[in-house]
Symmetry: C2
Subunit: 513 residues, 2 copies
């Protein structure tokens, strides 16, 4: 299958006919707006009771904040702080004052202005797999991630044009030394993509280097980035009710610089949170609000996103599950809570399947549906996530791209006119006839329908004779073709050079330290 040319996919055949390379075939997804009302599972009264519970948790139980600097900021702003236990308890009045300064919508700026990331309102954005220690594909199987795999993921998603922002650690480049790994990742983001990209969500150095490199990319200063934010960081807390210093250092640096903090408690029901949806949501909301408040204490108006990552576990084995009915309900409810707090919301399109199969697809389809219909603003892990996030899958990127492009098509307002209805065409075609040759058809058929990337609609005999390939087999061929046909976005050589110098300098400094 590896030797199979990409032109055996239907999309490939179309490409071959059109004589275009994949590099120019895929127009990036436009800014997507969900014109439908959000799907909601909680009543307004239930939302209010969860909000009350979240406030009560922060006021009575509090969070363990494992950074003296962060505790000092909370203390200065009226929270009750115990430095021995590191517990911080925050009154509802303080939290509500802080929430009042957090923006309900904002824009993060991309190097390509056409790809600015609009966060809030009815806009739906897709992001890539993040944080996976392993890379997997059909030929080479599952192994530790490396920088080449990291760069391949960026090339494939950039060629497909399916993402509204770029990672983040799309896969861990474990072949690079930990202390400077983030520098290689950031350089790859800037070189290979022209989207908003995410700083690593852990570590103060990782945040300050992201700020410096983003400033170079945008030809400006770190100070100036505050007025025109370009970065986000996506980070968890250590649920239940604990936040480690490395995470706090990262968040505080980005918030101080006016960049976007996407705070996402990872609350598996029955493990790091109560076994009930209501309990897990209350705890998750408390953890997120506590960090949003910190960001606002540091810089009033700093862009923050209310993240939710609540799912269930297999209570027989303890293994996490994603894309389940519980995950769908948690996603719908999380977005309702975010609206209650007037914050943008981040959820995910995820699955726990060990391979790219029907399970990976239905779990992802369920969670993606919930993300979109809940009015989630950032839908993370929407391309390439597999195995509960333990692997980034190159074939899964292609399967997910079909889902994302399909949704983008569905979200388009439909065309509607008398010419579209075509009463004359209907009258002209005789009973039992067909419309293939109708002028009404011929005038439109070229671009009448969405053209799939991966789907094979050929009949059984043709499919069998072409090798009886599954969608995953075809995806294996396609991701390689897309990687090879990748075209880099424009980047000012002077900026490229300055970035190279910065990375070299920092590697030397960090190596010396």
């Amino acid at each position: 299958m590896e030797t199979q040319p990409p032109t055996t996919t239907p999309r490939g055949r179309a490409r071959a006919r059109a004589g275009r390379s994949a590099g120019t075939t895929y127009t990036p997804l436009p800014r997507l707006e969900n014109r439908w009302a959000p799907v909601e599972i909680l009543t307004a009264e239930q939302v209010e009771r969860l909000a009350d519970a979240a406030f009560a948790i922060l006021q009575d139980a509090g969070l363990e904040i494992r950074s003296a600097r962060a505790r000092e900021i909370y203390r200065r702003n009226g929270a009750l702080v115990d430095d021995d236990t590191q517990m911080v308890r925050i009154g509802r009045d303080i939290l509500e004052a802080m929430l009042a300064t957090a923006p309900e919508r904002f824009v993060l700026h991309a190097r390509n202005p056409a790809r600015d990331l609009h966060v809030g309102g009815r806009v739906v954005n897709f992001g890539p797999v993040g944080g996976a220690p392993n890379i997997s594909d059909l030929r080479n199987g599952r192994r530790y991630g490396d920088l080449e795999a990291f760069r391949d993921i960026l090339k494939i998603t950039q060629t497909l044009g399916i993402l509204h922002w770029q990672g983040g650690m799309v896969v861990e480049p474990v072949d690079r030394p930990v202390p400077t790994r983030h520098l290689d990742a950031y350089l790859a983001h800037i070189e290979l993509s022209d989207l908003v990209w995410a700083a690593r969500g852990v570590g103060g150095i990782q945040a300050s280097d992201a700020l410096a490199m983003s400033a170079i990319e945008h030809g400006t200063t770190v100070e100036a980035l505050g007025a025109r934010p370009t970065l986000l960081c996506v980070t968890n807390v250590n649920s239940p009710r604990r936040v480690d210093e490395e995470i706090l250092d990262n968040i505080m640096a980005l918030a101080a610089a006016g960049q976007c903090v996407v705070i996402t408690p990872f609350t598996l029901m029955g493990a790091m949170a109560p076994v009930t949806l209501a309990g897990a949501l209350a705890q998750s909301a408390a953890e997120a609000l506590g960090i949003v408040a910190l960001c606002q204490m540091i810089r009033a108006g700093a862009p923050c996103v209310f993240g939710g990552f609540t799912s269930n576990v297999d209570m027989r084995t303890g293994s996490p599950a994603f894309g389940t009915p519980e995950y769908v309900n948690a996603t719908l409810a999380t977005a309702q809570l975010a609206r209650r707090f007037r914050l943008p919301v981040r959820t995910s399109a995820v699955n726990a399947s060990p391979c790219v199969d029907a399970q990976a697809t239905y779990e992802t389809a369920f969670s993606l549906w919930a993300g979109i219909m809940s009015h989630s603003h950032l839908i993370a892990h929407a391309a390439g996530w597999l195995e509960g996030g333990l692997s980034a899958s190159l074939e899964k990127i292609i399967v997910d791209a079909e889902l994302l492009r399909g949704w983008a098509e569905i979200l388009k307002p439909i065309e509607f006119s008398d010419a579209e209805i075509g009463l004359d065409a209907i009258r002209e075609v005789p009973p039992g006839g067909h419309f293939f040759g109708s002028p009404h058809t011929l005038a439109r058929y070229e671009n009448a329908f969405y053209r799939p990337l991966l789907s094979d609609w050929s009949n059984h005999e043709n499919w069998r004779d072409a090798g009886a390939k599954t969608a995953t087999d075809r995806a294996h061929v396609l991701w390689q073709a897309l990687r090879d046909q990748y075209v880099a976005p424009p980047l000012d050589p002077a900026i490229r050079e300055a970035l190279g110098e910065y990375v070299a300098k920092r590697k030397a400094e960090i190596g010396a330290a």
Copy 2:
């Protein structure tokens, strides 16, 4: 894989632990209600323009009605009929008068009263694959259907309890002679399942035998069935704008007996209908309304369902596509039109994939989502449909069962109470701790979450060591176990005997003719 015991699936392990057979493990899906507002893509004004167009098509262009008997009924009710061209044109006033007598909701009665089929309102019902000439599974591949495969499908879906009504020709038993094939199919439905079942949608004899056998099943007379309907037929027309005599004979017999006619034009955009969504919907609505009107002319109040089966084709090859963005939009709009006409609506969960893979799953997930969120009342082909309906797949039944059971879980109202929120549990678990041992968890974990049928959440190593099976591989093991663990529903021996006699008598009569 064939020799793999079913207990290697997570569900199987649970079953083994519980020491129960699959026959008693799966409780049938309850009556499902969609508490959410329907997702709509058309404005009220657009719906009205499509309704106007449908009425205009019937009034100006008309339908070719290839039955003198049917034309006579239309004529007696004021339609303009030309017996030479067989064209029937129906005025809007007549159509609106006929629509006024069609019920907006009704109940079809099952032998098991707990499984009565409620059609209309917010109720969502799932039905099986229908009309497939081929059966396919991983071991034996794709071949013509036979009565054994037909019965296997009934056994598996009955054991799973995922359907709200039964076929219909779930697969064509081509090993049985065509003239009496329907008798074998109906007997299988009554013997193997206790749900409402569907008459074959083509042929007068097929309709009258269904009526006779349903009357025997319910211990009543064909005349009495009119007051307490038990049957539906799902039938297409010969789009564009033609209805053959065999279809009309079937529809007329069932409508006359007060049974449910589900009329579903099959309108592939650019083939049997205009290439545009608006045009295809207008034509499809006209075709359906023309037949609903006929049913009401025959028996005012006869239960009818407005069916929609509009999708696109690959304009490069002409092959049909299902579960596409166009299919989703057509489904959402079809349900809006049905509401405009105050008729229940039927759509489908379908795909055009050549095998049970990621494509089959995302296309089915898209169309199932659209069916449910559009407020479709009957969602046909929701278990086992593959390859654009050319095959019924035994593995696909299992994959679809996971989707259907997942949706049923999502549609349940969520539990919500102070005990569910569990503030005390949250306070008691220390920061960074876990909830596995919490009393709040222990009191609930047994039934806290949906238990999947097919999904495998084990880690990579365990999955690999168990043979690295895909969901489709596991489904192959599971459908065989479910078939073998099938338990037949109660059936009065006297009724069973009377049915046998009826079938024998009819086979002799038809053989002699």
